[in-house]
Symmetry: C2
């Protein structure tokens, strides 16, 4: 592939000055119609297309491209997020660069560096589970970054998350409304901010329903589906810690609980946090707190681009509402 025609080529072909072509291409109106015609012809003839990459070199110009770093594009959760980001970006004329960190800090940092070196206008980022460099270690000036789906512990950081607390509260309230009095909480480590929030929602809902919290029913050791299965298995059999409903605070916990139910041949009312494909196919269909991941991505882009384009009063924290899908398993 030889090189593509430039504005200079067009100017020569049309017999006008470079700047006149630039004016034409940029849609400025003050151009003699005869010249405009000649330029149009030259452009069509040469198949000229503006080189946006060169244009963005000029001060005050940008590539109108943003970056997204998630953990794995193939995972439906992140794919949905990416789609929301992508849609919001294209709607505003921005291109999107995506990268998967695989939850690895080093990989994550490498992607971020590359994107910054490429002079993308801003970044939407899911902080990886195995953290990389500290976010406030980046030497300013750095383009705006919006964190999504997980919060980051840096003052003033822009973060978008689901309404973990509210969603969990709704779920637990629904279980209580169904008559449950000993609702178990099964989730991952409370060091994960989202988990702590969901537990807070659980507690608030218990209190609102006039139920006392039994520490024997609160489990934060479900780092995998297998561990969740073991925990729920115990809840089903143990006399002391017996529960009459389960709130599974994440996807893996829901799956583990379902496995435990199957193994025991007996089920408890269950609501999970975060939807999953198979939820509607099981019997009974699994009730969940759905997160609008696409909306979270779109919100991140709105904040990023508003910031970028200098809008006033751009919020730095957005909590996207969840939706309780009651499908049957809550009874």
């Amino acid at each position: 592939m030889t090189s593509r025609p430039t504005m200079n080529d067009v100017a020569r072909e049309a017999g006008v000055a470079l700047k006149t072509v630039s004016r034409y291409v940029n849609g400025e109106t003050n151009i003699n119609s005869v010249m405009a015609e000649r330029i149009a012809e030259a452009i069509a003839h040469l198949g000229y297309r503006r080189n946006l990459s060169a244009a963005s070199l000029r001060p005050g110009w940008t590539s109108r491209t943003i970056g997204l770093v998630i953990s794995d594009l193939a995972n439906p959760h992140w794919a949905t997020l990416a789609r929301g980001v992508e849609r919001a970006a294209t709607d505003r004329g921005y291109l999107l660069v995506t990268g998967s960190s695989e939850e690895d800090g080093a990989r994550h940092d490498a992607l971020v560096d590359r994107m910054l070196d490429q002079r993308l206008d801003g970044l939407v980022v899911v902080p990886p589970r195995i953290p990389g460099r500290a976010w406030d270690s980046l030497v300013p000036p750095v383009p705006p970054v919006v964190f999504v789906d997980r919060v980051v512990d840096v003052p003033g950081a822009r973060c978008i998350t689901a309404d973990d607390r509210g969603g969990a509260g709704e779920a637990v309230a629904a279980l209580a409304a169904g008559g449950a009095r000993r609702i178990a909480f099964v989730g991952d480590s409370l060091g994960i901010p989202a988990m702590a929030e969901r537990l807070a929602g659980y507690r608030a809902a218990l209190q609102a329903a006039g139920l006392a919290e039994d520490p024997a029913l609160v489990h934060d050791g479900a780092h995998s589906a297998e561990q969740a299965e073991r925990i729920v298995g115990t809840l089903l059999t143990s006399a002391l810690a017996s529960a009459d409903a389960v709130f599974a605070a994440n996807n893996r916990s829901s799956l583990g609980a379902l496995q435990a139910f199957r193994a025991a041949g007996r089920r408890l009312p269950l609501i999970g946090f975060d939807d999953f494909e198979a939820a509607i196919l099981l019997d009974p269909p699994v009730s969940v707190v759905g997160q609008d991941v696409g909306a979270m991505g779109a919100a991140a882009v709105t904040i990023l681009l508003d910031t970028l384009e200098g809008a006033a009063d751009v919020p730095s924290r957005v909590v996207v509402p969840t939706t309780l899908h009651l499908r049957g398993s809550e009874r």
Copy 2:
């Protein structure tokens, strides 16, 4: 965000010439260690990072960024493809820009134009169902484009697809091996090249099994799951066209067939083309011809980058093998 430091700033700070900084940054060795030290300090102090976008402006340099246009990033099929593309791209030091056409030609063309204007090095493209402009209408020189998942009717076009014919053949052979003698083909319009290939595979397998083809069993009108359901419903009840097994030539046809089975309270041996999430959860689990979509994406990138980097004898057509997953529904 004020502007970021440039090589010039570093040069001034270190008291050396611009070119020396460039040498240092590009890892050239012939640099006095004292100057190197001064430059390193200045870089650290200013937080300098090379502007790759500016560097790529020079002739012979590129952005080391490729583009991907699919129909919908949120769809697991395309997300898996995108992930394969992304992984292969990062492995070779390339960044990836993604865009969703929503199967709309105009949207698709707009994305392609934008990517070309941004001077991406090359494109991986899924041609949209509602076609846009003809691919050979692009005025050269245009960077290399590789089509994936669907073929495009342009001489010399680089296309990656699954082994539609072989995969369909294997499926039908498996049904025949199970004792089926009247195997129905249920699929979408034969105007779609992949469908025509799958039908060809069906026919070849019938012949190999010594079975005659009955036109009453071949249906290419399943444009939706509903239509497939109706077709399979008829196959279950009609005396004339009664089948004893079904090869569902795409995802939607599989789902339609399953619906029809459920409605009739009776099932036929079934194998579908293309895997789906729920397949392993149903009873019996649904057997399918799996496409390695990730591998297809990776193959596309390999061809794109090999072409780009001037490798010799880069193939222009790759057929990625399928895998038959027998899970139970084939009996």
